[in-house]
């Protein structure tokens, strides 16, 4: 593929309706979105706004019921089959019978990499998330923050260009979360990956993203897209600058506009 690289994710008029016992629920409606290579896009919104569902559609864990979506120029299913993305879940979901290094090796084993190649990649990705020295530990011997870092290492291990993260730091305390946010930014800068990041924290979304997609519920839809004007290099104290606060205020306004408080 030469010339202009196509959008990593491109959705148009995307809709998804779940059939439940209480009737159909519109989880996504009319979502138009294009994510370019190297972007860090956050999806923010109240619960039920479809942000996780959208991420799962990109990952081919849910099938859309209307509209179209392509990932790396392919259907989501083809993209999944070609291992185009790494997915980080809300919980670490490490397998307790495997050590940290064997957990990171899991996708590599499935993809049939050689032992030597596996070892090299395990070492590299564990270095990347600062978990060197914990290779032989079992997940239940590590703290929640370290477990989540190991799960990020697992998503990075097979070197997909797209990283899908579903509230990865939602269950962690604020101190650990700040630290991991910083590390994630550093990692994004170094690897130049495209990251889609679901969160319900405004500061986290503003701090991390190049673009913030604000979503609102009933039906789940995109209500605003905010381009960040922050520089690529972001120390933690950028969060006290007027520029940061201005973007945060816009996100908050977007959330308020999309959310009906009358119920």
């Amino acid at each position: 593929m030469t010339g202009v690289s196509p959008a990593v994710v491109s959705a148009s008029k995307l809709g998804l309706t779940f059939q439940t016992n209480d009737g159909p629920v519109q989880a996504l409606s009319n979502v138009d979105l294009t994510i370019g290579k190297g972007e860090f896009v956050s999806f923010i919104g109240p619960s039920g706004c479809g942000k996780t569902t959208l991420l799962r559609v990109i990952a081919d864990l849910e099938k859309p019921t209307s509209g179209s979506i392509s990932v790396n120029g392919m259907t989501p299913e083809q993209a999944r089959q070609s291992r185009a993305y790494g997915y980080v879940f809300q919980a670490a979901a490490l397998y307790p019978w495997r050590t940290i290094e064997r957990n990171v090796a899991l996708p590599l084993e499935i993809m049939g990499l050689s032992r030597a190649e596996q070892a090299a990649r395990i070492k590299r990705t564990l270095d990347l998330v600062n978990l060197s020295g914990f290779e032989k530990k079992y997940p239940w011997q590590l703290s929640g923050g370290m477990q989540q870092r190991a799960s990020i290492a697992r998503a990075l291990a097979f070197d997909a260009d797209l990283l899908l993260m579903d509230e990865p730091f939602g269950a962690l305390d604020e101190i650990v979360r700040d630290h991991l946010n910083e590390q994630l930014l550093e990692l994004w800068e170094r690897t130049n990956k495209t990251i889609c990041f679901v969160t319900h924290s405004i500061p986290e979304a503003v701090y991390l993203s190049t673009r913030i997609v604000v979503m609102s519920p009933r039906p789940g839809r995109v209500s605003d897209v905010i381009e960040s004007t922050l520089p690529k290099k972001r120390p933690l104290d950028i969060r006290e600058t007027p520029e940061f606060l201005a973007i945060a205020a816009r996100v908050r306004d977007g959330l308020r506009a999309g959310h009906s408080y009358d119920d």
Partner: protein
Amino acid sequence: MSSILSLSSITPRSWQGYAALVLLAGALLLWPLVSATPGYGMATTVLIFILLLVAIEADNFPPMIGVVLLFLGAHGAAWMLLAGITGNEGSARASFYLLLVAAWFLAWRCVTVLSSFRPTSRWASTALRLIIPAIFGAWILIIWEAVTRGAGIPFILLPPPSAIGARIVGSLPVLGADVRQTIFKAVIFGYVAGSSAGFLVAIAADRVPFLRRGLLPIGNMVSALPIIGVAPIMVMWFGFDWQSKAAVVIIMTFFPMLVNTVAGLAASGHMERDLMRTYASSYWQTLFKLRLPAAAPFIFNALKINSTLALIGAIVAEFFGTPVVGMGFRISTEVGRMNIDMVWAEIAVAALAGSVFYGVVALFERAVTFWHPSVRGG
């Protein structure tokens, strides 16, 4: 008597000690121990009292020495009581039982002191973990022995453990042949075949939905078949030898494994399965790398249930026709010949074999499911 003289200076430190002291006084009042002649010799009686008094006094020594004195006193006295009953069977008087209970209380005190020890070294804590249940088990045998022989309970109703032990030692070749026939042939083969079949069918049912809907109800029905009804039919189908018993064991072990494996395969979480999906993992990769490890606790549960079921199945099946060897055959024929000690010997061997079988499976379980919260402890 020296024991009476020292009685005034004895000071127990526990309620078991006080109770033992009271029982000792009672035993002295209700003299003698047995109504028969020759009865207990004077030296033996005095020694029993001294041993018990030493054990009562033991709490006044440092704990390490005290526990040894307690152990030796209580069990020495019990041993002498049991040894002295020979020739006086069935003539024990209240005094005999009071002394026995006193010794039992002191053994109880011994276990209490042992339980309070907090050993630092590994081997000491292992030894402690073994010795406490050993003392407990020994006292079941001691009381059984003392009551059956002291009260002269008819042999047919309940033989004393010493007679059962003597029978085991005297019939080792017969017992060995029975174990070979029943356990090493019927049980092991049936257990392995039945458990494997249940496991493989569970995987097939997981893979093919129509099997799941069709097979599980039939499997359920098979498990409800009464073994008493099935065993004679299996003997007709597969002959008198161990093959028909193995068939009964297969029927009994198949269903627990099937149900547990099916439940275990559903035990992995949604997130873990989604994760495998994001890797575009194949059915078999997901099965071996996620679902079977997650099902391991369920599968081992079935293996443990089956280890006891298999033994019961094989022994009961032998009641319905067998060559002249086998544990079930021996039990049914020796009952008819009133050789109750042989029946008890078979029961003891079966209990031992069943425990070892279960223990081995449990050890494997600990090694394989070390990661499970129930094994790693939180």
